[in-house]
Symmetry: C2
Subunit: 302 residues, 2 copies
DNA sequence: AATTCTAGATGAATTCAATTCATCCAGCAC
DNA sequence: GTGCTGGATGAATTGAATTCATCTAGAATT
């Protein structure tokens, strides 16, 4: 790499050249004029050329100084501009939060008014995606991951654990006085979510009926029956709400519907889900606002 | 001015980004990898954004890092380029010496072979000009001034003092057995140098005949006779050498001709000249080569 | 002409940013 | 399981940056 003098010298030179005054440069850089004098002298020694004519006043740039000044001035201005841009994307910039589509849409977004009330100045950018964004590569500031155990790649806080319940709209099943048996379930259309094949513990009708056989004598092959299938958990939930069938859904994602009766639990047999983990990097330069969000999310999860 | 972090941080960042390695950056900047780690951490804190993804190896720039890197890299390269240019005009560059036209042509230039023998690597730029170049404004590195007393504007070393002699070519005056009286001088064409009007002590025929009247009984009005006039001292000297007339010349400038007989002194009445002063700034960043030249010039002047 | 003011120069002393040291950590290779 | 590598971190150290004290030389003021 090129041999550069200490960059402090260039900064002193630039300010002195712009002010044509060591005193003025000193005031701007919050040092004494003596400091500027020393810095300029060092730079001149480094260059082998005088950069200023000291007398008569005011100072005047020499030919060498004239050559160097615009380069340093423009260079430092360009640095400052780029740094401002980086800062703007951080300080005062939005916290970027990545979560699964379903969680973002059905848990986080509905609660944002409360977030805004608590932190009016700290804006969020929410990425609803099932892709796993990399915090270490600064693709997001916070990740909310759905996993069986604390995921790697940062500090983890377990927000909550969910349970998958068999639910249906009352418009489909009527005003039930008690829950349905597995055989009775087979009388209704069923909704299946096509989980990624890597998810062996996925809350499917197959997994449900296996568990049911330990509890009930007569369990038809519910997984073998024709059913409505959705790749998006969100869409499956919407279909259940609109009485298109009976679905197995995460109670975290249908909390309001369970509370309002828009969906009702039609079997007592549930499937244990995983946990929602909030993940962040403790070394993140914006760890303070990140902790603010983390505290808030935990308070929302209780 | 824009708020910049310590530029040391930017230099560390640039090297680390280019190597994608703190260790590599450290080796280049002659510090430990820990120093780089600290510097990057400070810059990230300053920016509010991570600039590197540390894991997995090798390091990778984040989006913020990608934004900042080319700006800093190009900026530092531009600085280095400009500094090299300034250095090239100094270190390894020529010493700029300003002297009067006549002195440059007739004393300095003829001796340059000896200078080259003594200092083969230190080149000179010689400005033969009667304008007074300003050392303080870095218009030249060394000035050789012809003056009655040491000029202001720097440290002065008196090289030599000259004497103005009445000289002519033997082709004009023949093989004289003795010097000519003022009356005999009037029988030949006379050469006059038109000195700047500010020079009241200029070695003119007028000044010469005033002094001659104190010595000789019969002194014709030599200054009143028609004569060949030159504005350039150099041209007057050349005219004398080519037997066009009798001239009053500085013995410093016609040393070789006096030695070889190309010009002979035709009157014992001489006029005291001034001195040649070598002037430089003791605070000049290139004071070492300047002193080399100074010593050499003094040795040549003896 | 004498005195005062101003801004830069210089070397010694002081401050504090930069750096090193010692130790730790987490992947990776063997 | 063990050893290696490159980065992280806090305390200690180093030395670059800065201040202090004094000086200088023009310019302004008296």
């Amino acid at each position: 790499m090129h041999h550069l003098p200490p960059l402090t010298e260039l900064r002193a030179f630039e300010a002195a050249a712009r002010h044509l005054s060591f005193k003025g440069a000193a005031a701007e850089l919050f040092v004494t004029p003596t400091a500027i004098s020393h810095q300029i002298k060092l730079l001149e020694r480094h260059c082998g050329r005088d950069l200023f004519r000291r007398r008569p006043r005011p100072l005047k740039l020499t030919a060498a100084g004239e050559l160097l000044f615009p380069v340093v001035r423009d260079g430092l201005a360009t640095f400052a501009k780029a740094l401002d841009k980086v800062r703007a994307s951080a300080v005062g910039g939005r916290l970027r939060i990545t979560a699964t589509n379903a969680f973002a849409a059905r848990w986080l977004v509905p609660r944002l008014p409360k977030w805004r009330d608590a932190h009016p100045r700290l804006k969020l950018d929410i990425f609803g995606t099932d892709a796993i964004l990399d915090l270490a590569a600064d693709e997001a500031d916070i990740a909310i991951r759905y996993a069986r155990k604390p995921p790697a790649g940062g500090r983890c806080i377990e927000l909550m654990r969910d349970t998958f319940r068999v639910v249906a709209s009352p418009k489909l099943v009527g005003d039930l006085r008690k829950t349905l048996s597995p055989a009775e379930l087979a009388n209704f259309p069923l909704i299946e979510i096509e989980w990624p094949s890597r998810n062996r513990d996925a809350p499917t009708w197959q997994r449900w009926q296996t568990k049911a056989k330990l509890r009930f004598k007569r369990v038809p092959d519910l997984a073998g029956l024709p059913h409505l299938a959705f790749r998006e958990e969100l869409h499956a939930i919407e279909a259940a709400i609109s009485a298109q069938g009976i679905a197995i859904c995460s109670d975290v994602l249908i909390g309001p519907e369970l509370a309002s009766g828009a969906l009702v639990q039609v079997s007592n047999l549930t499937l244990r889900g995983y946990s929602f983990f909030l993940v962040y990097l403790p070394t993140h330069p914006r760890v303070t606002p990140i902790m603010s969000f983390s505290e808030w999310a935990r308070s929302m999860a209780r």
